[in-house]
């Protein structure tokens, strides 16, 4: 039975806008076909809404009210100091840099060095070269399920980073991918990254999703398609400080080869609406996944982390630790699903989500889920929401520490356990700095 749905203003605009901009989007015939198919999928699905189980706490249909025009080409002029200011502590990181402004690669601001066994290109360039063949996995992600957000990404993606690291190649410095939003009137910015690590390769990749000073409200739809080869090691970090008037829809799709290590972390703060979708699939035995995050919400911010870890093969280990601090009327969501397939014996999965509630009006919804079809497995999950411990606060105050300082210290000590999970020491220090600055305003908020 089909139900005739009335489409919202935003849904109608998206379909309509696609027709208008399709010709300007990069890619040959095969890519264009894939985009058309994707917008068709989207037209059938509409924006995710609360009656769809995985979206019940993040109803995009009602949250996204104003249509935004898709950004296609013509990035606003931006200076390196502006980017550095938006990057905060990450600016000082000794890293290769690839900068995207309003979804457009800006080579002048990028410092990517060429190295043997390393292929780095902008997605726009790669798509342009693809001709009649989609090939090379550039749009493989569109095959994943009936996800409207992914379909939109396929339809509208303008640019991103394509990084292919050859067998046993070690990237000597972290690679920082910067996605900056400018003051150009409200835009829908759609980017996609391809991260491929060959067998035994090592790399540290950071995505920074930031807003330049005075940035207009906008929406980002970003997707990273990650594959970590046998015995390869990827440290993948995302720092999202997109601005209070911004929506950020992020999808990470990762597959891990035999004995691969994927060390992922996501910090989300100062972002109006964030949905972080993570899908990780073990493809080879003996792989390790460590995926963690910290989210800081205040005002009416809404931060959702939804992850699915698929133990499709035996003998893999997954660890997840997400910690959030919610002030004012902020709303946090954590949905974590661990699937253990019938053959995936000796799977070891642990998942934990913990939130510190700084206000009576803050809200946290959590749904940890285990779907286990094998018998010889060790799996566990948990979720807690707590307030600041008054006894600890008194203990600290009795030592002369003023309330505000004591609260700040307790909040920081809560979140530090998650930040400590950041895989690279220098990146960890930078993220700690960015988080601490936000915590100062959070701890000053009214309980």
């Amino acid at each position: 039975m089909t139900v005739a749905l009335t489409r919202t203003k935003v849904e109608q605009a998206l379909s309509h806008d696609f027709e208008a901009v399709a010709a300007k989007l990069p890619g040959g015939r095969a890519v264009t076909e894939a985009r058309k198919a994707a917008i068709g999928t989207f037209a059938a699905l509409g924006l995710p809404h609360r009656r769809i189980e995985q979206w019940k706490w993040t109803d995009l249909r009602s949250a996204l009210k104003e249509p935004l025009s898709p950004a296609v080409g013509g990035a606003a002029k931006t200076s390196a100091p502006d980017i550095d200011a938006a990057l905060e502590d990450l600016a000082a990181l000794d890293a290769y840099r690839m900068v995207f402004v309003d979804g457009q690669h800006v080579p002048e601001l990028s410092t990517v060095a060429a190295a043997k066994g390393l292929e780095i290109a902008s997605l726009a360039a790669a798509l342009a070269k693809s001709g009649d063949h989609a090939g090379d996995g550039l749009i493989a992600a569109s095959a994943i399920g009936q996800e409207a957000v992914i379909a939109l990404n396929t339809a509208f993606m303008t640019d991103g980073a394509v990084i292919r690291i050859g067998k046993a190649v070690r990237l000597d410095k972290p690679l920082l991918l910067v996605f900056a939003r400018t003051a150009t009137e409200g835009r829908l910015v759609t980017t996609r990254n391809i991260l491929e690590l060959g067998d035994g390769a090592h790399a540290t990749v950071i995505e920074a999703h930031v807003a330049l000073r005075g940035a207009a409200p906008g929406q980002a739809n970003t997707l990273s398609d990650v594959s970590v080869g046998d015995g390869a090691h990827l440290t993948h970090t995302k720092c999202t400080v997109a601005g209070e008037a911004a929506s950020h829809l992020a999808t990470w799709l990762a597959t891990l080869g035999k004995a691969a290590t994927y060390h992922a972390f996501q910090l989300t703060a100062s972002t109006g609406l964030a949905r972080n979708n993570l899908f990780v699939t073990f493809k080879g035995e003996g792989a390790k996944l460590d995926i963690s995050g910290a989210f800081l919400g205040r005002g009416a911010e809404h931060i959702d982390t939804t992850l699915v870890v698929d133990h499709a093969v035996p003998g893999c280990e997954s660890r997840e630790l997400f910690k959030g601090v919610l002030a004012d009327k902020a709303h946090g969501v954590f949905q974590g699903k661990v699937i253990v397939r019938p053959d995936a014996q000796k799977s070891d999965g642990k998942q934990m989500a913990q939130v510190l509630m700084l206000s009576q009006d803050a809200e946290f919804d959590s749904k940890p889920e285990l779907e286990i079809h094998a018998d010889d497995v060790v799996c566990g999950h948990g979720s807690t929401a707590a307030e600041i411990d008054e006894d600890l606060l008194f203990y600290m105050r009795s030592r002369g520490i003023p309330t505000a300082e004591a609260r700040a210290l307790l909040i920081e000590s809560f979140i530090v356990e998650a930040i400590d999970k950041v895989g690279d020491e220098r990146v960890r220090a930078a993220l700690a700095g960015i988080a601490t600055r936000r915590l100062a305003t959070l701890s000053a908020s009214q309980p």
Partner: protein, 254 residues
């Protein structure tokens, strides 16, 4: 001087009276002991002096150097020199002991109008005190009290006390759960801090601590009041007779 006058305290959200008219005075330079059976209200008195929430003062007053202590916030009291060594020190995951000490130290120094120390000066101070209390350097890097043994926690309380230089020290059962060697170390730490500018209130269930920290006066607390006051020999008497006498009276008055 600490002056506690007819202090009556109940639980804030329950109709339960815990301190039923406590009066005592501790002049500067003196050490007074409070002894008494479990549940007599000793910790409650200590908490009320430090400013813990959850209690309601329904009568009486507490003056410290002539100032109304009960009107002050806990951190203000600390700045005025009040220090409570907790019967059950709290664990603070994620906050390194040194960071905690430093934050507290700087806070009270600022409020007292004293200059903060440089990091090397501060570290030197803390290490000296820690060494004399037998606290290993490595422990100072660990989160406050997390995974510490009972003895380590109590030593840490005394270390905090030594570093923060209070003028009114309240020690709540600092000896409980310690073996005799630890009692000696902790007592030595406390005794070192005895001075003509400091008043101390040492709460204990057992007499043995008072062999090492010899009090000027001993008060017996039972049923939420001071039932008897005497010299240090009172502690020895209690060691022989126990608290039976006070317990029965406490029940009668209840």
């Amino acid at each position: 001087m600490l002056e506690i006058k007819n202090l009556r305290v109940k639980l804030a959200d329950e109709d339960k009276l815990i301190l039923n008219g406590v009066s005592l005075e501790v002049p500067k330079g003196q050490v007074h002991a409070i002894m008494g059976p479990n549940g007599s209200g000793k910790s409650t008195l200590a908490y009320v002096l430090a400013g813990r929430e959850g209690y309601e003062v329904i009568d009486g007053e507490v003056l410290w150097n002539g100032e109304d202590l009960l009107a002050m916030e806990p951190d203000e009291r600390a700045a005025k020199g009040v220090f409570l060594a907790f019967q059950y020190p709290m664990e603070i995951p994620g906050v390194a002991t040194l960071t905690f000490l430093r934050t507290a130290f700087n806070a009270v120094r600022r409020k007292r109008g004293q200059k903060e120390l440089t990091t090397p000066e501060f570290l030197k101070r803390v290490r000296e005190e820690a060494t004399s209390l037998g606290i290993a350097d490595e422990i100072l890097k660990r989160p406050v009290n997390v995974g510490f043994s009972g003895g380590e926690k109590k030593r840490m309380e005394i270390l905090q006390m030594a570093v923060l230089e209070p003028s009114l020290c309240v020690l709540d059962e600092t000896d409980s759960g310690l073996d005799i060697d630890a009692v000696r170390v902790v007592s030595a730490g406390v005794t070192k801090l005895r001075s003509k500018d400091r008043a101390m209130l040492v709460i204990t269930h057992y007499q043995r601590l008072l062999n090492y920290i010899v009090p000027d006066k001993v008060h017996v607390m039972a049923g939420g009041t001071i039932r008897k006051t005497g010299g240090k020999e009172l502690a020895l008497e209690l060691e022989k007779t126990g608290y039976a006498e006070f317990k029965s009276k406490a029940l009668e008055s209840a």
